[in-house]
């Protein structure tokens, strides 16, 4: 079955440093989604990427979808303590009626003020 790998598993940064997490799918995706989960909370939708090579920005966050639609990245510029949490990517397989969203294991980001 489809697998989604995410690295790194953990990342600790000093406030103001940049952060990147990477996501790779074993199969081609119709879209990829990113979520943030604060400690003790539930996943909150950040963004969805659909097109090959797509790049989207939300303030300090930059999301990319690979040309082959199998990999993606999330980059945070100048991290802040409010960025703390686990960032998950989740992929929806391409082709046909497949509605199973597969999540990576997430990257836990901690920020030292």
């Amino acid at each position: 079955g489809q697998q989604v790998m995410q690295i790194p598993q953990y990342q600790h940064v000093q406030e103001g440093e940049d952060f990147t997490t990477y996501c790779n799918s074993s199969t081609t995706l119709s879209n990829i989604q990113w979520y943030k989960q604060r400690p003790g909370g539930h996943p909150v939708f950040l963004i969805q990427l659909v097109k090959s090579g797509e790049v989207k920005k939300q303030k300090r966050l930059t999301f990319q979808f690979g040309e082959a639609k199998k990999n993606s990245s999330l980059h945070i510029t100048a991290t802040q303590t409010t960025d703390v949490g686990t960032y998950f990517c989740a992929g929806l397989p391409s082709g046909g009626s497949n509605y199973k969203l597969t999540f990576g294991k997430g990257t836990l980001l901690t920020v030292n003020p």
Binding site: N31, H42, P43, F45, A90, K105
Partner: protein, 114 residues
Amino acid sequence: DAGVTQSPTHLIKTRGQQVTLRCSPKSGHDTVSWYQQALGQGPQFIFQYYEEEERQRGNFPDRFSGHQFPNYSSELNVNALLLGDSALYLCASSLDPGAGNTIYFGEGSWLTVV
């Protein structure tokens, strides 16, 4: 406009018991999916309901069953509970997710099996 609401928020059950978790989707949403999130892991897809039918199922045993009602609310039932069923159970609602619609998660139900 209420988002996705789940109940109960926390519960403790004994091995072998049965549990029912409930979910009310965001207003206007017709698709409900259930996920299991173990500590330190990403959510894992249990199944999805659409038009009161189970549309797709993940790799979970038949002990996990569900239902969707005409008002689109949903229940997740787990029979013969095992210690390994202890997890956060998340409900997510959307319009047809295959069309790229945003998926909204509820705050989850924390299940502890002792």
